[in-house]
C-alpha cells in the first residue's frame, strides 16, 4: 500500500515535468493544424449533433439524487434529471417546475407542480414522486447523507427511528399539490428541503437500502430531464439521447456523451475535439485557454481555502469547542500574519490566476456577501505586519533574526498543509517564507506535508503539534454559517469560541420581529454584522476563493457555466453552431 502511494506520488511529480515539456509542443501543433476560427460562436444554431462532456474521475454509477455521493455521478445526473426548484445566479432558490407558498406562521409549505411533466418512460410526474423521495430518505435503512434535508418535516425523525409508520407532516392535496408541515419555522426552509422527486412507479417495492444497487438506478435510470440514458459503460462513459417530451421543449442536441478521461490528457483531448465541455485542470489552464477551438469560461467557485489558527480543542463530552490555546490570542499577531502573505502572487503563481483573495467566508456571487469597502482587505504589506508585531511585543531580542514572544521566549509556528497536488510543497514553502520574512519562525509541522486523511485525522484529534493549518471548505448557496462556525460544531476545526458569533449565526435564521420587513434584508443585516466580526477577529486567515476554469469547444453554443457547474434546467438549450 505504501509502495503504491509512493508510486503515485512519483508519478505525479514526473508527470508534471513531462507535461510541462509536452504542453509547449502541443500548443505549437495546434497553430499549424487547426483552421483559424476567431468568430466566437458566430454561426447559426443547428438541430442535432452530439456533445461530449468530460470529467477526470471515474463515476460510480449511482444515478439518483437521493443516493449519489460524488461530483462524478451528479455530473451525469444533471443531464437526465432535475429538481423542482432552480437556483438563481445570486444563489437564491427560485420556482422551477414547481412553485411554492408559505403559510402566515411559516410552518406550512405548499408546493404546486406544473401539470403534464413526463418521466422518461412516459408516466406523468406527480407530487407522490416527491413524497416518495422524502420517504426513501427518511427510511430507517437509508444509508445516504441527505437526511438533514428532510429532517425539518414534522414526524420525519419519528419515522426514521421507527416510532411512526408515516411522516406526519406530509399531506397530499391532489396530484399536483402537496402540503408540508415543518417542525419549526426557518428562513431557509425552501433552500434546504429536499426537492428532487424519485420515480415511485418505476422503483416499485425495492427497499431504500437495496435501491442504490438496483438495475433501476445503475443500469436503466430514468428522470425528467432533457436527456435519457441510452447506454452506460461502468466507470467510463454514459451515452444520453434526446428526450422529446421534455417539459421545457424538445432539446436541440441529439445526444450527450459523458466521458471519463485521465486529467493529464485534458489539453490534448480538448484540442483535437474529443471533449467539448470540461472543467480544466488548473495547471493546464494557460495552454487550454489559448487553444483556437476553445471558448474559455472562468467561474467563481463555491469553495475557498483558509489558514486557520489553532484556538484550542473540542470538548466531546460537552459538545462545544474550548479556546484554551494561548498562542494566537493576540489579535495583532493574527492580523500581522495575514498582512504578511501576498495572496494574489500565490494565486498567480500556483493556480494560473484562478482565484481571488477573500476576506469573509461568503462566496462573491452570494446575495449576502458584504460590500468589500466595509471590511478589512488585509492587503499584502510587510511593513504593516512588522509594525503590528512590534506593537504586540513580538520583537527579536536575541538577534537570531526571529522574533520572540512578548515574554521573551522563543516563538515558533507549526504549519500544516495537505499533500497531493504537485505544487503542494511549493505552496507551503511560499507561506512559510512569507511569515519568515516578517520575522516569524514558521516551519512545517513534522517537517512534511500530510495526505488528506492524515491531515484531517490529526486536526480533528486536536493533536497538540497543530498550530496553523491550511484547509479548504465548500460553500453552500444559502449563507447560513452554521455547520462550521457555531461553537458546538465539530467541524469548527479551528476551535474558535465566540458567543457573539454564535448569537449572530442563530439570529440569522430567524424571521424578523417586524413581519412587514423583508426576510432577505433582515438576514443581510445580520450577516453583514457577522462578516464584520469574523473579518476583524480573524479566527482564520481567509485565503482565496477558487475560480473554476471551463473549456467549451467553439462548435457548442448555449453553454453557460455557474459556480455549481452545469445548470440542469439549461441543458436543453445546448446546441451546435455552424
Amino acid at each position: 500500500m505504501k509502495k503504491s502511494a509512493l508510486w503515485l506520488l512519483s508519478l505525479l511529480l514526473v508527470m508534471s515535468v513531462f507535461l510541462a515539456a509536452c504542453s509547449g509542443g502541443g500548443e505549437k501543433a495546434s497553430t499549424d493544424k487547426e483552421p483559424k476560427d476567431d468568430g466566437k460562436a458566430s454561426g447559426e444554431a443547428q438541430e442535432g449533433g452530439t456533445v461530449t462532456f468530460g470529467y477526470t474521475q471515474p463515476f460510480k454509477g449511482v444515478l439518483s439524487y437521493a443516493y449519489y455521493e460524488g461530483e462524478d455521478d451528479v455530473n451525469a445526473l444533471k443531464f437526465m434529471h432535475e429538481g423542482i426548484f432552480n437556483t438563481s445566479e445570486e444563489l437564491t432558490t427560485v420556482p422551477g417546475l414547481a412553485d411554492w407558498e408559505m403559510s402566515e406562521d411559516n410552518t406550512k409549505l405548499t408546493i404546486k407542480f406544473k401539470e403534464g411533466i413526463k418521466w422518461h418512460d412516459g408516466e406523468e410526474l406527480t407530487v407522490e414522486d416527491l413524497e416518495y423521495a422524502w420517504y426513501l430518505i427518511a427510511d430507517p435503512t437509508y444509508e445516504g447523507a441527505r437526511f438533514a434535508n428532510v429532517e425539518m418535516i414534522k414526524g420525519a425523525q419519528e419515522y426514521k427511528d421507527g416510532k411512526a409508520d408515516k411522516i406526519e407532516g406530509i399531506k397530499i392535496i391532489d396530484d399536483y399539490t402537496i402540503e408540508v408541515t415543518v417542525k419549526s419555522p426557518t428562513v431557509n426552509l425552501i433552500d434546504n428541503i429536499w426537492s428532487y422527486p424519485e420515480p415511485k412507479h418505476y422503483y416499485g417495492d425495492i427497499s431504500s437500502k437495496e435501491l442504490p444497487d438496483s438495475d433501476q438506478i445503475r443500469k436503466n435510470p430514468i428522470g425528467i430531464g432533457p436527456f435519457k440514458v441510452k447506454n452506460i459503460v461502468p466507470g467510463e462513459m454514459i451515452e444520453f439521447e434526446r428526450f422529446d417530451d421534455y417539459w421545457q421543449g424538445k432539446p436541440k442536441l441529439d445526444g450527450i456523451v459523458y466521458k471519463i478521461i485521465d486529467g493529464s490528457l485534458t489539453q490534448g483531448l480538448v484540442q483535437n475535439g474529443e471533449i467539448d465541455v470540461i472543467e480544466a485542470p488548473k495547471d493546464q489552464w494557460e495552454t487550454i485557454k489559448a487553444l483556437d477551438n476553445v471558448n474559455p469560461q472562468e467561474v467563481d467557485a463555491l469553495s475557498y481555502s483558509y489558514i486557520a489558527f489553532d484556538w484550542g480543542h473540542y470538548d466531546t463530552k460537552k459538545g462545544v469547542v474550548v479556546s484554551d490555546n494561548k498562542k494566537f490570542q493576540n489579535k495583532n499577531l493574527r492580523h500581522a500574519m495575514a498582512h504578511a502573505i501576498d495572496r494574489q502572487a500565490f494565486i498567480d503563481g500556483f493556480a494560473n490566476g484562478l482565484g481571488k483573495p477573500l476576506n469573509t467566508p461568503f462566496p462573491s456571487v452570494s446575495w449576502a456577501k458584504i460590500d468589500e469597502s466595509e471590511i478589512n482587505a488585509y492587503e499584502f504589506d510587510q511593513e504593516k505586519a512588522k509594525k503590528l508585531l512590534d506593537e504586540a511585543g513580538y520583537v527579536d531580542k536575541d538577534g537570531d533574526g526571529f522574533r520572540e514572544d512578548p515574554e521573551g521566549k522563543p516563538f515558533t509556528i507549526n504549519f500544516d498543509a495537505m499533500a497531493g497536488a504537485e505544487t503542494s510543497e511549493a505552496r507551503a514553502q511560499f507561506i512559510l517564507q512569507s511569515w519568515q520574512e516578517v520575522g516569524l519562525n514558521a516551519k512545517l509541522n513534522g517537517g512534511s506535508l500530510k495526505d488528506f486523511n492524515l491531515f484531517y485525522d490529526t486536526i480533528e484529534a486536536d493533536d497538540p503539534s497543530v498550530e496553523t493549518f491550511m484547509g479548504a471548505w465548500g460553500l453552500a448557496s444559502d449563507p447560513d454559517p452554521a455547520g462550521i462556525w457555531l461553537s458546538t460544531d465539530k467541524w469548527n476545526m479551528w476551535r474558535w469560541y465566540s458567543e457573539e458569533s454564535d448569537a449572530l449565526i442563530k439570529k440569522g435564521v430567524t424571521f424578523p420581529e417586524d413581519p412587514s420587513k423583508d426576510v432577505k434584508e433582515h438576514r443581510q443585516e445580520i450577516y453583514n454584522e457577522w462578516q464584520k466580526l469574523v473579518n476583524e477577529e480573524l479566527p482564520v486567515i481567509f485565503f482565496e476563493q477558487r475560480v473554476d476554469a471551463w473549456a467549451v469547444n467553439k462548435r457548442v453554443g448555449g453553454v453557460k457555466l455557474y459556480a455549481d457547474g452545469v445548470m440542469p434546467n439549461e441543458v436543453y438549450n445546448w446546441h451546435i453552431v455552424e
Binding site: C22, P212, I261, L265, L302
Partner: protein, 321 residues
C-alpha cells in the same frame, strides 16, 4: 505429482492466512477511512459520519473487525464497497473482463516480441543487432510506464489520431455487433502495446542467454559435425530446449494477467482491476482494496505452483517430490 500438488495446496493455507492478517492490518493502519473523504458541510454532517462509522463497525476493535471480515471471506463474501454501494465481488466481476483482455493482449505482444528478439539475439550474439535489441530492452525497462503511456497517447492518439486516447469502448456502438468488437480492439491496442512492448527485457534476455549457452553444448557440436544446416540447428534443436524456461514463466504471469496494470489502466482510463485498485486506495474503500489484494495473493501462489508443475512437465530431468 498429484501428491505434490495437494501438499503444495495445503501448504498455501497458512500463507494465505498470514497474508490476510498483514493486508488487513496495513489497510487499517492507513490514516482515514471511507468516510473521512466525506468531510464536507454541503453534503453531510458529523452526526451522519459518526452514525455510519458505527453502522459499518469501524469503531469496533481491529481484531473484531478482522474476524468479521475473514468469516465473510471464507464464505466467498468480500462485503460491500462503501464508495460504489455494491457487493465487491460484482464490482470486480465487472472489471475483470477488461483487465483480462488487456492482460492477454499485452502478454501475447510481450511473448511474440521477446521470442523474435530473443531468437535473433541468441543466434547472432554480440552482433550489432544483438546490441541494438539489448539497448531497446533496457531502455524499455528503464522508462516508467506512465511516461511511455503519455508519449504513446500524444503521438498516436492526439497527433496522429490513429487510435482513441482513452476508454475501453467508443460511443454509439451496440454490444455484440462487429463494430463493437472493432471498437474494443481499437481501444485496447495502444495500452496493450505500451504494456506489452515495455516488458520484453526479461524474456528476451532469458531466451538469448539460454540459446547462447545451448549453442556450446555437446549435442549442438554433434549436429554441426554431422553437417546439419545452421538454421536447422538453431530453429529445431536449440530453440526447443531454450523455450522451456520461458514457458515456465507463464505461471508467474497469471497474477499479472488478473491484477491489471495500475498505472497504464489509470492513464488510459481503462476500467480494469488496476484502475479500481487505485481508486479504492484513494477513497479508502477497504473492502475493495483488500479483496483485490487477496485475489492477487492467491493467484500469485497458484501461479508459482503452476510454474513449478510446468517445469516438471516440460523438463523431465526435474522430479517433483
Amino acid at each position: 505429482m498429484l501428491q505434490y500438488t495437494i501438499r503444495r495446496l495445503i501448504g498455501m493455507i497458512p500463507i494465505i492466512f498470514l497474508i490476510s492478517v498483514v493486508v488487513f492490518t496495513l489497510a487499517k493502519l492507513m490514516p482515514g477511512d471511507a468516510l473521512s473523504g466525506k468531510i464536507d458541510p454541503l453534503n453531510s454532517d458529523p452526526e451522519y459520519i459518526e452514525e455510519m462509522r458505527e453502522k459499518m463497525g469501524l469503531n469496533d476493535p481491529i481484531p473484531v473487525q478482522y474476524v468479521r471480515w475473514m468469516s465473510g471471506v471464507v464464505q466467498g463474501d468480500f462485503g460491500d464497497s462503501f464508495i460504489h454501494k455494491r457487493p465487491v465481488m460484482e464490482l470486480i466481476g465487472d472489471r475483470l473482463p477488461n483487465t483480462i483482455i488487456l492482460g492477454l493482449s499485452a502478454l501475447v505482444i510481450t511473448y511474440l516480441l521477446a521470442f523474435l528478439m530473443g531468437r535473433y539475439s541468441g543466434r547472432f550474439a554480440y552482433s550489432i543487432g544483438d546490441y541494438l535489441i539489448s539497448a531497446f530492452n533496457y531502455l524499455a525497462l528503464a522508462i516508467p510506464s506512465f511516461v511511455a503511456a503519455l508519449v504513446a497517447i500524444y503521438v498516436f492518439a492526439i497527433n496522429l489520431g490513429w487510435v482513441p486516447a482513452s476508454g475501453s469502448i467508443g460511443s454509439g456502438v451496440e454490444a455484440g455487433t462487429l463494430e463493437y468488437y472493432l471498437s474494443k480492439a481499437k481501444h485496447t491496442v495502444l495500452p496493450a502495446i505500451v504494456l506489452g512492448a515495455m516488458a520484453t527485457a526479461a524474456y528476451t534476455q532469458f531466451l538469448r542467454n539460454d540459446m547462447i549457452e545451448s549453442s556450446r553444448k555437446d549435442y549442438v557440436r554433434t549436429a554441426r559435425a554431422k553437417g546439419t544446416k545452421e538454421s536447422a540447428i538453431y530453429n529445431k534443436h536449440i530453440l526447443r530446449n531454450s523455450i522451456i524456461p520461458i514457458v515456465t514463466l507463464l505461471g508467474f504471469d497469471i497474477a499479472n494477467l488478473f491484477g491489471g496494470a495500475i498505472i497504464t489502466e489509470t492513464i488510459f482510463t481503462y476500467p480494469g482491476i488496476g484502475y479500481l485498485f487505485v481508486e479504492s486506495v484513494h477513497a479508502r474503500d477497504y473492502s475493495v482494496m483488500m479483496a483485490i489484494t487477496m485475489m492477487l495473493t492467491i493467484l500469485t501462489l497458484i501461479g508459482n505452483l503452476v510454474a513449478d508443475l510446468l517445469y516438471g512437465l516440460v523438463d523431465p530431468r526435474i522430479r517433483l517430490s
